[in-house]
């Protein structure tokens, strides 16, 4: 039988709160440490204990990080979901299960291989503590998997030693549980299986980290001093990451006091109000939320837009509308973020695709908000934010200086003949501001959400109001030039594909699946809104552009049509929105079918 290496999907089906998450993470981390690219997806319920949860690891020597449909190895540890779990296994795949209770005949499939192990029974004689018996089930199947999949055992035992450093009493029983599983597999099962892992060099210097951790860390490096937030999945860990690192890295050496302030606000309205107040008073500040929080923040976002205050807002998107599926991923807040608030309001958006980009955009967003004096909304999602993603390592240029934008200090105010907060002195639509308390006589002004003139005085003059609104559009044009450009890869094909954020993950694989069918596409990964000239050119230069995104209503496509007035027919929607992350198979199928239905010419036809 031929053996395949480093190319499978394994899924663990567990009960939420049973301690499976740490065992499953160790599994993924062990492969990562063997140099094998892994993509981790924790598919968890909105629940603390008892509901089903799945943990999926895609193992891919080619480095495909998107989700792949189907499961090759199912570790079925949840009786409640056994039926669907067994049904999801690809023909020829493996079912690993606890046969302390025999598998019901009705559940058996001829086209898969059953690997039963008496996990509960084995632990019964080995451990007396019922809690340990339960927790070590996870460790035991992990041990068995090292034999079945040929995972280097010392990598795992090394991880156990590091994980329980300081709690040494836990090391021996954990390793013992690993050995119970491993020895059973070696003695009684056909181990290793024909699908295996083997040490690789495909990881390189990459790191394994979740996007929210990167966002919190990037905010710290970017100089944020105030964080105000309200708990909401899947954004909570952004603020927690900031706090975690700030407590280590932002403590004044002499006094032991904190060089940051974090407030868990009473709601999202208060969270963004605090961010706005801090920004008004010259501190870099940010908040993190998800869809429902974004809705609540809308009024304040309009104020910050019109009163021109820097705000950095992370929206870790989840499946809406309303409470939707709060622990599932989507890219469905684009329109509500882009045009958040009443009146003619619009906000720059950033679309990170990797933890590295979360880190970079976190610091960049603080600069952009200060420079543009407006809210910057970073649209991440649950897939990126809460799963450990393989990422390029973080880097910081020690020469880098924060761009605090146009702020006048006391001396500069003395040198200015006339100060008008909203005068467009430089022609880029951005005025000069001052922080409260700067100067005894000059530079004080009233910040307000009402209409005002160049000198911040209240006015209802039609001319002045219109002039101000026009200036805000000039600022919008300035924003388009400052925001990160799209990543474009062009081989002068006639058809292109456009995507953003985590939809980028399955794209390389989707292109590889399309290529044999003679479908070759140029690619454009959008990284910001408003769109740069390069995005407009990309669409103009192609006959047809697929817009791939994870929402029902093709929100990016709407933004493109709305802002750039493209012919809608030219932008073909490819939308996945069922809450799991979009797969290469889905993209492949959608585009392939479109070619077929519309009889689009393929490369092979052109060549023949």
């Amino acid at each position: 039988m031929s053996v395949s290496y480093n190319d499978f999907v394994i899924r663990f089906a567990n009960v939420n709160g049973s301690g499976s998450a740490s065992a499953n993470s160790m599994f993924a981390k062990a492969l990562f440490r063997m140099g094998i690219p892994v993509a981790i997806r924790n598919i968890f319920p909105s629940n603390i204990q008892g509901l089903p949860t799945w943990f999926e690891v895609r193992v891919s020597e080619q480095g495909y990080l998107g989700r792949r449909e189907g499961v090759d190895v199912m570790v079925a540890m949840n009786a409640e979901t056994l039926v669907e779990d067994i049904a999801s296994i690809n023909p020829g795949g493996y079912l690993v299960y606890d046969n302390s209770k025999p598998l019901a005949k009705t559940l058996q499939r001829d086209d898969i291989i059953e690997i039963g192990m008496p996990i509960s029974n084995m632990l019964l004689s080995e451990f007396t503590d019922p809690k340990q018996r339960s927790l070590f089930k996870n460790i035991t199947y992990l041990g068995a998997l090292t034999a079945l999949l040929n995972i280097e055992f010392d990598v795992l035992t090394g991880m156990v030693a590091t994980q329980y450093k300081g709690k040494d009493a836990l090391i021996a029983p954990n390793i013992h549980a690993l050995e119970i599983g491993r020895n059973y597999a070696l003695n009684y099962l056909d181990a290793p299986l024909p699908i295996q892992v083997k040490r690789s060099d495909q990881v390189g210097d990459r790191i394994l980290v979740d996007g929210n951790m990167a966002a919190g860390l990037g905010s710290l490096y970017g100089g944020a001093t105030v964080c105000a937030w309200y708990p909401i999945t899947p954004s909570t860990s952004v603020a927690e990451a900031f706090e975690l690192h700030a407590n280590k890295l932002r403590i004044d050496e002499q006094s032991g006091q904190k060089k940051f302030a974090i407030i868990q606000a009473e709601d999202e309205l208060a969270a963004i109000g605090m961010v706005i107040g801090a920004a008004w008073n010259g501190a870099r500040s940010f908040t993190a939320t998800s869809g429902p929080g974004l809705s609540l923040m809308s009024e304040f976002l309009g104020l910050a837009y019109f009163a021109e205050l820097p705000v950095v807002l992370w929206d870790i998107q989840r499946a809406g509308p309303s409470t939707g599926m709060p622990t599932r991923t989507q890219q469905s807040d684009l329109i509500s973020a882009a045009y958040a608030s009443h009146g003619d309001t619009k906000h720059p958006l950033l679309f990170p695709a990797t933890p590295k980009e979360c880190f970079d955009f976190a610091a960049m967003a603080l600069d952009l908000a200060d420079r543009l004096q407006t809210p910057i909304i970073v649209l991440s999602d649950l897939e990126l934010g809460m799963n450990e993603n393989l990422s390029e390592p973080f880097e910081w240029d020690d020469e880098r200086v924060y761009d605090r934008g146009k702020v006048l200090n006391a001396q500069e105010l003395d040198e200015v003949e006339v100060f008008g907060r909203y005068r467009d002195v430089d022609g880029d639509g951005i005025g000069y501001r001052t922080y409260p308390g700067t100067h005894p006589d000059k530079g004080a002004f009233f910040t307000r959400g009402t209409s005002r003139d160049e000198f911040a005085a209240y006015t209802e003059s039609p001319e002045i109001y219109e002039r101000n609104m026009q200036r805000l559009l000039r600022k919008w044009d300035t924003a388009a030039k400052l925001l990160p450009a799209a990543e474009i890869s062009s081989s002068a094909e006639r058809v292109g594909v456009l995507y953003y954020g985590t939809t980028s993950l399955p794209i390389p694989e989707a292109l590889d699946l399309l290529a044999p069918e003679g479908i070759r596409l140029d690619t454009c990964r959008i990284r910001a809104f408003p769109f740069g000239e390069e995005v407009k050119a990309f669409i103009e230069e192609h006959e047809l552009v697929f817009v791939v995104e994870q929402n029902r209503d093709a929100q990016m496509r709407t933004l493109l049509i709305n802002e750039c007035e493209f012919e809608p027919k030219k932008l073909v929607r490819v939308n996945y929105y069922a809450g799991l992350s979009i797969s290469a198979n889905f993209i492949h199928k959608s585009i392939s079918e479109y070619y077929q239905t519309n009889k689009l010419s393929r490369l092979t036809e052109v060549q023949s």
Binding site: G256, I276, N281, F394, G437, F446, G449
Partner: protein, 351 residues
């Protein structure tokens, strides 16, 4: 409102404060509120208090929400930055502002609609966080800008201008502030400058949250017979329990002129808050006692005024959080950014 433009010059013999400024240096633009509005008296009291404290006018930060009261930061302290935010959200904006720069004197002005209805959540939470600020509610029991609807502080049975009675229980912000943990709680009346000005001074110097509920009649919509927030009613039914005089180190101590039992409260900055208790049994350091007292009198239809509760040593939010003494908005790259070497070791922790 008046259309008279304020003169730029002032009388050469206006008294100067400790830093050589006159009261005019603490004024704002001309008010656009109705003639006789209680809020204008509050603004005047703020001007007087700030001038007497000799704090440089640009060292204040003024924040408000939406409503008549929230317009007033335009009418005092022209040399300081002001922020007219959104309805009911002054507390959150002020919280952020205070986190960014702990050295500024923060004045938040709000109204009864702003604080007791739409912004009740934020009112409650800024009290419990003890942001170092003076929080003034100009309480007139009505929505003036939208033409006279009842607000949540309006007393049950009090009538509208057209004679319709208010059917619902009132919210008492003083009781709430006491209950939630404010370290300085007072009530006053816009028509009683002698009581109000020392309270504002003490509130500004108090470290932590200082809340003053100022009953401030609305001459347009809530000053008629049947209203419990009219000038006439308030003068008749207030129960003054503790008067206060605020004495800074540089102040000349004048002989006691106020009636009541005297008690000096030492403030952390060396100044003295001199209290004159009209009811000898009243203890302004007893939070629960104060709450009981206020509510018992409220049952009788009386609003208790004066310096109701003070804990001069209470910690403010910065102390609770243990932030550095330097204002956060003055920290620069070398204070804030740990650098690439540290980052590389963080990378290693993700491998």
């Amino acid at each position: 409102m008046t259309f008279v433009v304020k003169p730029q010059t002032h009388h050469p013999k206006l008294p100067l404060n400790e830093i050589g400024l006159t009261r005019r240096d603490y004024e704002g633009s001309v008010s656009t509120l109705c003639a006789g509005c209680g809020h204008d008296s509050v603004s005047a009291a703020i001007v007087q208090a700030c001038a007497e404290l000799s704090i440089p006018p640009h060292r204040f930060a003024k924040v408000s929400g939406i409503g008549c009261s929230s317009k007033t930061p335009s009418y005092f302290l022209n040399k300081s930055h002001g922020f007219n935010s959104v309805h009911g959200r002054m507390p959150s904006v002020m919280t952020g502002a205070n986190l960014a720069n702990r050295d500024l004197y923060c004045i938040g002005v709000s109204g009864d609609g702003d604080s007791a209805s739409i912004g009740m959540g934020q009112f409650a939470h800024i009290m419990r966080r003890r942001i170092n600020m003076l929080y003034i509610v100009e309480n007139n029991g009505t929505y003036g800008l939208t033409k006279g609807q009842f607000s949540a502080t309006n007393d049950k049975g009090s009538t509208s201008k057209k004679g319709a009675p208010n059917l619902y229980e009132p919210i008492d912000l003083v009781s709430m502030a006491l209950q939630i943990g404010a370290s300085f709680v007072a009530r006053s009346f816009s028509g009683d400058k002698h009581q109000l000005v020392p309270l504002i001074k003490a509130g500004l110097r108090h470290k932590g949250i200082a809340f003053i509920d100022v009953i401030s009649p609305c001459v347009a919509f809530n000053n008629h017979q049947g209203s419990t927030k009219s000038y006439e009613h308030v003068r008749q039914y207030t129960h003054n329990v503790v008067n206060a005089d605020y004495i800074e180190e540089h102040d000349e101590i004048i002989a006691d002129y106020l009636p009541g039992t005297r008690e000096d409260v030492a403030m952390p900055d060396g100044s003295i808050l001199r209290l004159y208790k009209l009811d000898e049994a009243y203890d302004p350091h007893d939070r629960v006692g104060a709450l009981n007292y206020v509510q018992r009198h409220q049952e009788k239809g009386e609003a208790v005024t004066g310096m109701l509760y003070i804990d001069p040593l209470a910690a403010d939010c910065h102390e609770i959080m243990d932030t550095v003494q330097t204002p956060l908005n003055e920290l620069v790259e070398e204070d804030l950014c740990p650098g690439n070497k540290v980052l590389q070791s963080i990378n290693d922790s993700f491998r």
